[in-house]
């Protein structure tokens, strides 16, 4: 799996755009070899550069996203958004960064200062680790692990730990409440997230993320991409996965752990300056990671959406899909109000988990009944009938009621 011989092979010209993201890695490895340093050093240097490439790309994307998010939210509310720093506010992230760096770093007197310091660091680390296993392009998987999916979830679970650490170490009420909420929410939503991903593992027969993407290549009927989303079980699992993603990434409408109107800023209440910025960064990097995983599992990773578009470098497709998914996140944030904590938990346990459990037999049927027409014929009713039942029950019991207050009316 080592990428070194591949990279240094003369068959790949350096100007090939497909290899562009790995150019720094290649250059460093070439320098190390040129200097006659041992092979293991070349590998380590190459890995370090690969890691820095990922961190650099996503730190830049974080800066850009923080601006685009504000701009998009502003446009939805018919405002202009930040437009003072630089043309069209392009330098706003720089100004924000300078502000965050120069702010006083306050640690509460009674806080557990070491844990208080460790929490913001530990929230960024798992996000970066998780970003490392995602296949960004045909030839660009920073760490091509055999059990990439397992690694992703194992590392992703660390985020909860650091959030709770932040809440506990602050020795304050609001952070503690926020941390408790975060734990209950993330543990509840991890379940549908993993169950939804499990269907993909069942059908692909592997946990290696590059392999899962490779299996989604090709087209049905010549134009429908063979992504997991375009199967009956994949559609349901994809939607469940997406909803669980929103909760895992602490995004609106499931951003209860930091509900500003109720508990100030949740676990971030007692943080200021650069530690606060690190929390933000960890949250956004986590958002990138989990969106990347969703794209890998359901949206065909770096596969082109239409036949005949193979000439575009594959990593471009990945980032195009990532932008689209992130835009949907922004759109949802701009639209929906925050849900209540009991609604949140009920939705996870009474709706998402049963539905995601249903996708497992559906995926098994799909796998064994042949993945064509017979698969559709068998799995569609399996998913459609419970959906109809759910619909009826939801309309009966959970539809919003119209309340009339007769004293107000008369």
């Amino acid at each position: 799996m080592s990428a070194v011989p591949e990279l240094l092979s003369p068959s790949v010209p350096w100007w090939d755009l497909e290899w562009l993201p790995r150019l720094p890695q290649r250059v460093v490895e070439w320098i190390v070899q040129f200097l006659g340093l041992p092979e293991w050093l070349a590998q380590i240097a190459g890995m370090a550069v690969a890691a820095f490439t990922v961190v650099g790309v996503f730190a830049g994307a974080f800066a850009l996203l923080s601006l685009i998010e504000r701009k998009t939210l502003a446009r939805v509310q018919n405002r202009l958004g930040p437009n003072r720093v630089g043309p069209c506010g392009i330098l706003q992230p720089v100004a924000d960064g300078i502000k965050m760096l120069t702010k006083e770093d306050i640690v509460p007197a009674r806080a557990e200062w070491f844990l208080h310091l460790l929490a913001p660091v530990l929230i960024v680390v798992p996000a970066i680790l998780a970003l490392g296993v995602i296949p960004y392009g045909k030839s660009w998987t920073p760490v091509p692990l055999e059990l990439g999916l397992l690694f992703f979830f194992a590392v992703g679970a660390m985020t909860e730990l650091s959030i709770f650490m932040a809440g506990w170490a602050s020795v304050s009420k609001f952070p503690m409440l926020g941390a408790m909420r975060a734990i209950s929410q993330m543990v509840s939503y991890e379940l549908p997230l993993m169950l939804a991903a499990l269907g993909v593992v069942m059908v692909s027969g592997t946990m290696s993320l590059p392999e899962i993407v490779a299996q989604q290549g090709g087209f049905h009927l010549g134009f429908i991409p063979a992504w997991n989303l375009f199967t009956p079980w994949g559609l349901v699992a994809g939607v469940v996965f997406f909803i669980a993603c929103i909760a895992e990434a602490n995004r609106c409408p499931f951003d209860l752990p930091e509900g500003e109107s109720e508990i100030v800023a949740g676990h971030m209440t007692e943080y200021s300056g650069f530690k606060y910025a690190l929390f933000f960064m960890g949250e956004y990097l986590g958002l990138f990671a989990i969106s990347g995983l969703g794209i890998t599992l359901f949206l065909g990773g770096w596969q082109a959406p239409l036949p005949g578009l193979g000439f575009v470098p594959s990593w471009c497709w990945f980032f195009a899909k990532l932008s689209a998914v992130i835009f949907v996140f922004l759109w949802i944030r701009a639209t929906f109000p925050r849900v209540r904590i009991d609604q949140l938990m009920r939705f996870a346990w009474l709706c998402l988990i049963p539905v995601s459990l249903l996708t497992l037999p559906a995926a098994a049927l799909w796998h064994h009944a042949g993945r064509g027409f017979s698969g559709w014929a068998l799995t569609l009713p399996l998913l459609a009938i419970p959906w109809l039942i759910l619909t009826v029950t939801f309309n009966k019991r959970m539809a919003p009621q119209t309340r009339r207050f007769h004293y107000a009316d008369s």
Binding site: Q77, N78, F405, H406
Partner: protein
């Protein structure tokens, strides 16, 4: 589930509940915000933000805050309508106006202010000064960018900053200013007419007197000539 009984006057307590697929409301909401997002790029009337320091909203003619002094013509000293009568100074509730009458070397009033200060850190924008002014001199301004670096000196407006031309007043509040101008013009004409009438009357009297004198002289002459004949 709904414990509240509808009032008998309420015609339709329960809206007809149609079957809707779950999630339809969410999609409708997304459509609304998506339309907002897209239309904000090409529909001008959606974006109501005014980029303040570069462009500003036109203020209403009814917008009034701090007082200013109005002058006619181009010279802010000669054309000043204020006669330093001190009515506004006495009426001002927070006592933020300070006036010193200008006098010549003999101590005779020149009917103009030597000092006219308004402390706008004290002024409460009531507009009483402008209402009591009998000389159409003091009006409320529409100026709202009056922040300064100095709490005392910067907020104390003297004659130089208070004096503003009648044209400015016309631009600020055309209706009021044109009414005032028309009234002032009519007053002036009336005054001029009165002066002319007075002058004419004086002239007529003079002529009459001259006439009478002449007649008297003529009569005297005739008398003397008659006497001579007799």
């Amino acid at each position: 589930m709904n414990d509240i009984q509808p009032h008998p006057a309420v015609k339709d307590p329960k809206p007809p509940r149609k079957w809707t697929p779950p999630g339809l409301g969410l999609l409708q909401g997304l459509a609304v915000s998506g339309r907002n997002l897209v239309e904000s790029f090409y529909k001008k009337d959606r974006m109501v933000t005014v980029q303040y320091p570069e462009e500003r909203l036109e203020i209403s003619p009814n917008f009034r805050n701090f007082p200013f002094l109005c002058y006619d013509g181009d010279d802010p000293v000669k054309g000043l309508r204020c006669t330093a009568c001190s009515i506004c100074e006495k009426e001002c509730p927070p006592q933020c106006i300070y006036i010193v009458l200008d006098r010549d070397e003999n101590g005779k009033s020149l009917k103009r202010p030597k000092v006219f200060d308004i402390d706008i850190s004290v002024c409460m924008n009531c507009g009483i000064c402008s209402e009591v002014c009998p000389f159409d001199s003091i009006y409320m301004d529409g100026e709202y960018e009056m922040s300064g670096y100095d709490r005392f000196g910067g907020m104390m407006l003297g004659l130089d900053r208070l004096s503003k031309s009648a044209d400015y007043h016309m631009k600020l509040r055309p209706e009021q200013a044109s009414e005032v101008l028309a009234r002032r013009k009519a007053d002036e004409e009336k005054k001029a007419a009165a002066a002319a009438a007075k002058a004419a009357k004086a002239k007529a009297e003079q002529e009459k007197k001259a006439m009478e004198a002449k007649q008297a002289a003529e009569a005297a002459a005739a008398e003397s000539s008659q006497g001579g004949e007799a």
